[in-house]
Symmetry: C2
């Protein structure tokens, strides 16, 4: 599959964009007219630079408002088109995108439109240019790809074809199956974009909220499947207008974009394999002209292997874990790290932090079928590799860096939930105290606003986690956007939180601000939260103090048994209930940017106590006040 991207997806100058696209590994680019007009590079410079970078210049865009106009306007439009054709010849480009008219069209007549587009095709032919005509979703008269294709058939000129854009097709809910009936020679270009399902006017939706494939909710694998079945073999190019991407680091965004196409390619191949076309039993084995590359296989992680917290001074972390009931298992034989466990919940305390670094979540380990295959997959998806020094005879961890810079380690799971590497820790007490059994229930990570969508695609594509519908939680400093990514069995649950900008503590260094704008936490699940809480209290744990008003409201909402309500309040426990079960939980005080949560799930309760989150935010906010 030939990969492409429109320069309008990225921030920066044309030169910066081209360099970033080359680094990310794109085959070609679409040049957005404005990027050229505003550039100090002349067309010949751009041509040379693209050749040096190994980038094809696949499409010049956009040319707007050509068809369905008065004769006077047609003349002016042809003049304007010819100027662009000449420019394209200097750039060495042969395909131009012409969008259906949104502004100046006054005549709704397919015969006239075809006539005017024929004149354009003729002129394009004289200059060796191919015109890809696209139906914009909000085109005045032409807004349906099938209509655009009918016009292509009417024009019937070798230099006139169509461009299929997933946004313009899927935002209008057009059926994508008829794509297969289009003559592949007449599909001059294919653009892809994903988007969240929003109910708003399609123009605003398109101009601000498009995202890369895998970051939204469109059925893009199906769209691409139909395109492949049509026999199309040209570029598959991203055209994504997104307010955030336009403000973000250009190289990061280009890599995110490339990852989305690699993932889409795999998903499209899967869709084709799983969806034989009607009346064609052999279709699932049929080879199509477009070659779709495959990735190393992935399956959902079986669970968390460990969580790692890092600090310069680790005393507070050790104290908190001890009070929660974790046992100190010893120090690593060669590294300055400690292992603490509570049943199968393993927490590593890493002492190798920078001077004065406050406690923070640094790494997460996941149990996977094959760390090597999972790591190969992640690397093909352009995840940055994390290198860790290992000694001979120590377990090698395959590590990659998540978009928020948390280190993700791919570990060999075991049927009994143990981890072989724990034997590398040897200097702890002979018989660690047998505490309550626990597992890591979920981990809540703060995401920088520039990389939220990127993180969703990262965990979807590299770890096969499934994004759930997102929630918005009120806090005293603004709404917190909360996105759960989890496995189908709930064994791994990751909560990505997008915190309000103002929560960035101003006294911190810029580097730290980018990473930790918000408190993060690790939650452990136990069988009996009340007894866990009592034991922790007896050990002196500092609980997050829940206001009395909360318990009054709880009572008003749930009509709880008075003794139970009193226990909740006595121990600062929070409570939630829905049709599937009950949820009890409590929070510890925060050290650095990290705190811990203990939860008990009763019945099939599958949530996170969302109605209680505002209480936690408010109390933590109050404590953080000067």
């Amino acid at each position: 599959m030939r990969t492409g991207i429109a320069t309008v997806c990225l921030s920066g100058t044309l030169k910066e964009k081209m360099q970033a696209c080359a680094i990310a590994g794109f085959d070609g680019i679409e040049i957005f007219e404005q990027d050229l007009v505003t550039s100090p590079l002349n067309p010949e410079d751009v041509r040379t630079m693209a050749a040096d970078l190994g980038l094809g210049l696949d499409l010049y865009q956009p040319f707007r408002d050509f068809d369905g106009v008065t004769p006077d306007l047609l003349k002016a439009n042809l003049r304007r088109a010819e100027a662009k054709f000449k420019l394209m010849s200097r750039l060495g480009m042969d395909t131009i995108l012409v969008c259906s008219n949104v502004a100046t069209a006054t005549i709704n007549d397919d015969g006239l439109r075809a006539e005017q587009l024929s004149e354009l095709a003729e002129l394009a032919g004289d200059h060796g240019v191919k015109v890809a005509y696209e139906a914009l979703a909000w085109g005045k008269y032409v807004n349906d790809y099938e209509h655009a294709y009918r016009l292509v058939e009417m024009v019937d000129h070798p230099n006139f074809g169509t461009c299929l854009d997933s946004f313009h097709i899927l935002s209008r809910d057009w059926d994508t199956a008829p794509i297969e009936k289009i003559n592949a020679d007449k599909i001059f270009f294919v653009q892809v974009a994903d988007a969240p399902k929003l109910s708003m006017d399609v123009l605003s939706w398109s101009r601000h909220y498009r995202v890369f494939p895998g970051e939204g909710q469109f059925e893009l694998a199906k769209f691409m499947g139909h395109v492949v079945r049509a026999g199309y073999t040209g570029p598959v190019s991203l055209e994504v207008f997104n307010d955030v991407f336009r403000q973000s680091d250009v190289e990061r965004t280009a890599v995110d974009a490339m990852r989305s196409l690699i993932w889409l390619e795999e998903q499209s191949a899967k869709w084709l394999a799983g969806n034989a076309s009607e009346g064609d039993a052999a279709a699932s084995r049929r080879r199509y002209p477009m070659e779709l590359a495959t990735l190393p296989k992935v399956s959902e992680p079986a669970g968390f292997n460990f969580a790692e917290v890092k600090a310069d001074d680790t005393a507070q972390l050790e104290k908190l874990l001890g009070q929660l009931g974790f046992a100190f298992e010893g120090r690593h034989r060669t590294k300055d790290v400690q292992l603490w466990t509570m049943g199968q919940a393993r927490v590593i305390i890493n002492e190798q932090a920078a001077q004065h670094a406050e406690p923070a979540i640094a790494a997460l380990g996941f149990d996977v079928d094959s760390p090597v295959i999972a790591s190969a997959r992640a690397q093909q998806l352009k995840a940055p590799v994390v290198a860790r020094k290992v000694q001979a005879d120590e377990e090698v961890f395959q590590g990659i860096s998540a978009p928020d810079s948390t280190e993700i380690f791919l570990c060999q799971g075991s049927p009994d939930g143990t981890a072989a590497w724990t034997h590398e820790f040897g200097e702890g007490p002979e018989h660690p105290a047998a505490g309550a059994s626990a597992v890591i229930d979920h981990v809540n990570l703060a995401q920088p606003w520039q990389h939220f969508d990127e993180a969703v695609l990262f965990y979807t594509s590299a770890l096969a986690l499934e994004p759930q519908p997102f929630a918005e939680v009120p806090s005293p400093s603004g709404l917190v956007r909360s996105q759960v990514m989890q496995t189908s069995d709930g064994a791994v649950r990751l909560v990505l939180n997008l915190a309000p900008v103002q929560q960035a503590p101003v006294q911190q260094s810029p580097a730290r601000q980018a990473r930790k704008t918000y408190q993060e936490h690790i939650a452990f699940a136990v069988d009996d939260l009340v007894s866990t809480a009592r034991s922790a209290r007896d050990r002196g744990l500092e609980f997050l103090q829940i206001p009395a008003n909360y318990y009054e409201d709880l009572d008003a909402r749930f009509d709880l048994e008075p003794g139970f309500l009193a226990t909740l309040q006595e121990l600062n426990l929070l409570y939630d209930r829905d049709a599937t079960g009950e949820f009890l939980h409590f929070y510890t005080a925060t050290v650095g940017s990290v705190f811990f949560e203990m939860v008990e799930r009763r019945g099939n309760y599958d949530g996170y106590g969302a109605p209680n989150a505002p209480v936690r935010h408010a109390v933590q906010y109050d404590l953080a006040r000067p």
Copy 2:
């Protein structure tokens, strides 16, 4: 008019919100349930604190999903309501908002609904509570205020009335005239919110994009006019869910909120005076029970009086102005400021800046009918006053501080466009060089994202500038939102720009970042731009260099006369044309955060060369690269 605000409008804890509301001068507040539930203050504390702050506790909200339910659910809902009634008694509150059911209603029968609401009214009566029933715009069965009122009439209980919310009424385009027919005794509460006209689902629109009156596009004066005519005399309270306000400084937002109500009160009185009700010729003189306070009158400013630029080292500014053709008129007799003029365009260079402070726009002077009246108005609208030292016999400037901290001076205009205070400048050359005539055409100010809506209301209410439809301009670091505020004759044009977050230069101090995240400029209009540009070039002016590609595109778009096009390119002039006329302009290089623009308007051209703005952004971005 009794002013109120819901705590959900503001950031912070309940305590912080209450304090900010008291400082801003609100009569009362609505307590949003979650703000109490998450607070460590018990109800008695809240009651005492409100009394100490002089704040009425006017409404407890919200109580959701009561009506149209099964008998089982009704029982649970009544139990929940009673708990809240008891809580309200501890708070000393007597009115509760009950919203029409959006989630749990299963029975669509007004008879049953009235029956269930009667039970609620009865219970409320027992606790001395009044229930204000409100139709949410997205209520499952009840979403129209007239429908809610019919239910109030059916229930017919002294403790049961309705709440009118402008958002829920205007977002659905319900006719507001029938409000007048509602029995005033049955209107228990009125909530107001404005909003930009967006085409999206009404729930998202409501939860994220509401703004304070005067910051959106709803016809609120008319809404309030009908409410006043109905005979309502209770609180008029803001209920605004806005993602930005929830992240902003609580005291600033509370003042912005209060300003919006003061302004709305004036606009409502005006609407009533101008819109006699049908068949009632005396209505415009009729007094309604609700007293509407009036503000000192304002009319549009006649023009810019001056612009002031401030720097520690002013050499670069002096050089630029000199090269543009400005004449140095001398220094002020007592202050360290210089006056530079070009015709009626006056620029003050202020040398009293902090050490190492880069050049920046510091102040703007506007010609008004009466500086004292305008200043009184601004102060009643809670604009912060700027104090400047003056000597005896010097002109006293009435100054206020705009939301972006630009100082705004209200000056006595003169019929011939001169300014009396220029006589205080006396040590310049005896006969300043007679340059070309010029006026300040427009000033472009960068706005911090937290205070953009606040700025629109500020200039609307204090200076009678009219907001125009906003534009979004692409730049290499993201979209720039551009909002023109102008007088009807175009004599004063102010462009408020909301720049992408990433444009904040990281090396600057936080205080400066908040103010100057983006380049700002002053534009001067001349009669003959080509000759002005030639003279400036001869004086060595550093023009912003416009790429050659721009002129090729210009030619493709406009088919310009070759000699004219060559002149434009030779002098780095930009060009635009529309049905009303033509626009020529050029930019200078930037010093500190400020640059200058020279424009020539031909015919009735009323814009700002918007198609050229991306070129400017791209070139400036490129120059600012390390």
